[in-house]
């Protein structure tokens, strides 16, 4: 069967769209891993052993798969947060701070709401933590909308302020007493009562082997779908995308850019806050100032890799969750510092941003493909 030139052209266009959406991220990850391997090689390590150990640490046993899912959970939230911001033309680089405020809020709410049953505490805590995250994004959002202060600097500064505020609260008003009733020695909050926590999957489904994955993952997946629907089918989502695409045209078209900016950055903050919420409720069951492994920053890589598509955030978060879960075993077995994972993450961001490098590969492949038609 022979195709007309038009049909070939249409096919090629479709191919290119698919390639850009799927192949670019995949090639970016591949290039990042190759570059990472080179770094391992140059510094005297064995990249094959490193990635083998990384794989074992991420997927080797059911327990390790649970670790990957557990670590992917906050990344889905922060990935969604940053993707939502990007859609509205905002770079919420301070997701880490909103995450800290979300975690702090539920560490307090969980104790304050203790007498209530779980079907009241859990939803209230989720809402409270999301509101805390949104509140922490509100001032940078307002400054962006009113005077044009760049959100990259202001949210970053608020991130540092949040960390010191959390450190103060955990060392002062919210500090847990020691086991003997004396003032505590370490800056952590009180343990949450069981009805204020998110249970693990294997506690609900008995057939699942013991691991640390918790119901927060389910909430994250549902929320990814919700955010996708919001962006696609609601006025708020439409306005966010319009402003992100072209603020001047949007303003002319009757959308208030200032209002959309404030709402979008607050939604982004709420999503980031939820990352802190599920970490505290599902993993640590209390707040400490070491509770986040830079989830707010990894969320940037997640969002970019997902091309700001809320549904694609899920696999992207699982990838970075796996890298983070495997890092420990990689350091232990292959003697390669676990920081390699951060390097790979930065390289992924770099390659996704510098799409031209990647599309060059794709285009070359395209030429080969079309040659054979």
């Amino acid at each position: 069967m022979s195709a007309t030139p038009e049909e070939i052209a249409v096919k090629r266009q479709r191919w290119m769209t698919v390639a850009r959406q799927v192949a670019t991220p995949l090639i970016s990850v591949l290039l990042a891993m190759i570059t990472g391997s080179l770094i391992v090689l140059v510094t005297g390590g064995d990249p094959v052993a490193a990635f083998a150990a990384l794989w074992d640490g991420a997927f080797g046993t059911p327990y390790q798969i649970g670790e990957t899912v557990m670590r992917a959970t906050p990344l889905i939230f922060t990935g969604l947060a940053i993707a939502y911001g990007f859609r509205a033309g905002l770079f919420n680089i301070g997701a880490e701070g909103q995450l800290f405020m979300g975690g702090l809020a539920v560490a307090w709410l969980g104790i304050a709401l203790a007498p209530l049953p779980w079907f009241l505490t859990v939803p209230l805590m989720l809402i409270g933590g999301a509101l805390a995250g949104a509140a922490w994004a509100f001032i940078p959002a307002l400054l962006k909308a009113k005077v044009g202060a760049h959100e990259v600097i202001t949210t970053m500064m608020f991130s540092w302020i949040a960390r010191y505020f959390v450190s103060y609260m955990l060392d002062g008003p919210m500090k847990a007493p020691g086991p003997d009733g004396q003032p505590g020695t370490i800056p952590v909050s009180q343990m949450l009562p069981p009805q204020s926590t998110l249970v693990k999957f294997n506690q609900v489904f008995k057939f699942i082997p013991t691991n640390n994955a918790h119901l927060g993952f389910l909430i994250a997946v549902v929320l990814a779908v919700v955010v996708w629907l919001v962006l696609r089918y609601t006025t708020i989502g439409y306005e966010a995308r319009a402003v992100g695409f072209n603020p001047f045209a949007s303003e002319t078209g009757g959308i208030s850019v200032a209002r959309t900016t404030v709402i979008s950055l607050c939604i982004s903050g709420a999503l980031a806050g939820l990352a802190g919420v599920t970490e505290v409720m599902g993993v640590h069951h209390r707040m400490s100032d070491q509770f986040s492994a830079g989830f707010g920053f990894t969320g940037i890589a997640v969002a970019l890799l997902a091309k700001n598509n809320p549904l694609a955030v899920i696999p992207a978060a699982i990838l970075f969750g796996a890298l983070s879960a495997g890092a420990g075993l990689m350091q232990l077995n292959a003697n390669v510092p676990d920081k390699l994972v951060d390097i790979i993450q930065a390289l992924v961001i770099f390659f996704v941003a510098a799409e031209t490098v990647v599309t060059w590969f794709v285009k070359r492949r395209m030429k080969e493909v079309t040659k054979h038609v």
């Binding site: 940078p140 400054l143 600097i153």
Partner: protein, 332 residues
């Protein structure tokens, strides 16, 4: 009231101002780098990461130099300073390549460099020093001027203040002042400066009259890398000696705010950095009175970041940045 006076006299000493200048130096060097880079139309959110990478490379080379080149500790440190500058230039070339040649989003490219810097320095600490968090300590550069004379009487007080505030500093502190003045002159009084500003305001017009946009922007980004490198060298090789993970702690972002507060001018950047330096210097000294001023230490530590937000909020509306900032240039 007497306790207030007590605090005042204890705090307002030459060292308050001297340490303001010291703290301002890395901010100012990075901020001037930011000024040059942004004047050419390229946003440089990577200052933080550039400082971090340079600080690490500077320290690592200064530590290795005595064994490699058989030099004394001070010479080794100077070699470290040079290495920091080179590292800053190399790391910034990555940002230049991505944002100028590949026309990537400049903020995202900068973020990649910031995260890369954090990961790479942490990685290299483990590879080179077999532990996490911090390197060994290198020799720090001594003050440039050392005076043995000490007048007595009224002149003595004046001398104490003068030498205390201005004369006790290490070389890069003075270099930063000179760089600020030279850069200001170059930006407004030379052909290079006029061309650089044209790139950031209207690159198409600059291109039309025969100025190479690509080359001009590359030069500007690499210069900002060199200056961020000096800033990193100042942090480790003049102030602390050793490198510790994430030791820049947001200084790159504060420097960017200082650049905006200084209205995208080198001298303005320096003066704005001085304000941040003074605030932090004051905060450190006031912390000693936590028994009188009942404020938890964490609130003092928040101050530089709060001040940055306040400055941005207060001055952003009135400060107008380069018109073509952040926009990749594409020749037709």
């Amino acid at each position: 009231m007497s306790s207030f006076l007590n605090i005042l006299t204890t705090v307002v000493q030459p060292d308050l101002f001297a340490s303001a200048v010291r703290i301002a130096t890395p901010l100012a060097l990075a901020a001037i780098g930011g000024t040059i880079c942004e004047r050419s139309g390229v946003v440089n959110i990577a200052l933080e990461g550039l400082m971090l990478i340079s600080a690490f490379c500077g320290t690592a080379v200064a530590l290795a130099a005595p064994g490699l080149f058989h030099v004394g500790p001070i010479t080794a440190t100077w070699i470290g300073v040079c290495a920091a500058v080179v590292a800053g230039v190399i790391a910034s070339s990555l940002h230049a390549f991505a944002s100028i040649t590949l026309r990537a989003d400049q903020v995202v490219s900068g973020t990649a460099i910031n995260i890369l810097a954090l990961g790479l320095t942490g990685y290299m600490i483990q590879v080179l020093y077999h532990r996490t968090g911090t390197t060994d300590a290198a020799q720090i550069l001594p003050p440039l001027f050392a005076f043995k004379v000490h007048p007595t009487g009224g002149l003595g007080v004046v001398w104490d203040w003068f030498s205390g505030v201005f004369l006790g500093h290490s070389p890069l502190v003075y270099a930063a002042v000179i760089i600020a003045i030279v850069a200001q002159w170059a930006l407004y009084r030379t052909r290079w400066g006029l061309r650089l500003r044209a790139l950031g305001e209207h690159p198409r017009a600059a291109d039309t009259v025969g100025i190479s946009v690509i080359r001009g922007r590359y030069m500007a980004v690499l210069m900002s890398g060199a200056l961020a490198g000096l800033a990193g060298a100042n942090l480790t090789l003049e102030q602390v000696g050793s490198f510790s993970e994430n030791m820049t702690s947001g200084r790159g972002f504060i420097a960017l705010a200082a650049n905006i507060f200084g209205r995208w001018t080198p001298v303005g950047s320096y003066l704005a950095s001085l304000l941040f330096g003074f605030a932090e210097s004051l905060e450190i000294r006031l912390q000693a009175f936590s028994n009188i001023i009942k404020v938890p230490p964490q609130f003092f530590l928040m101050l530089p970041y709060i001040l940055t937000v306040v400055v941005l909020a207060g001055f952003m509306g009135r400060a107008i940045g380069p018109a073509a900032i952040g926009k990749p240039y594409e020749k037709d």
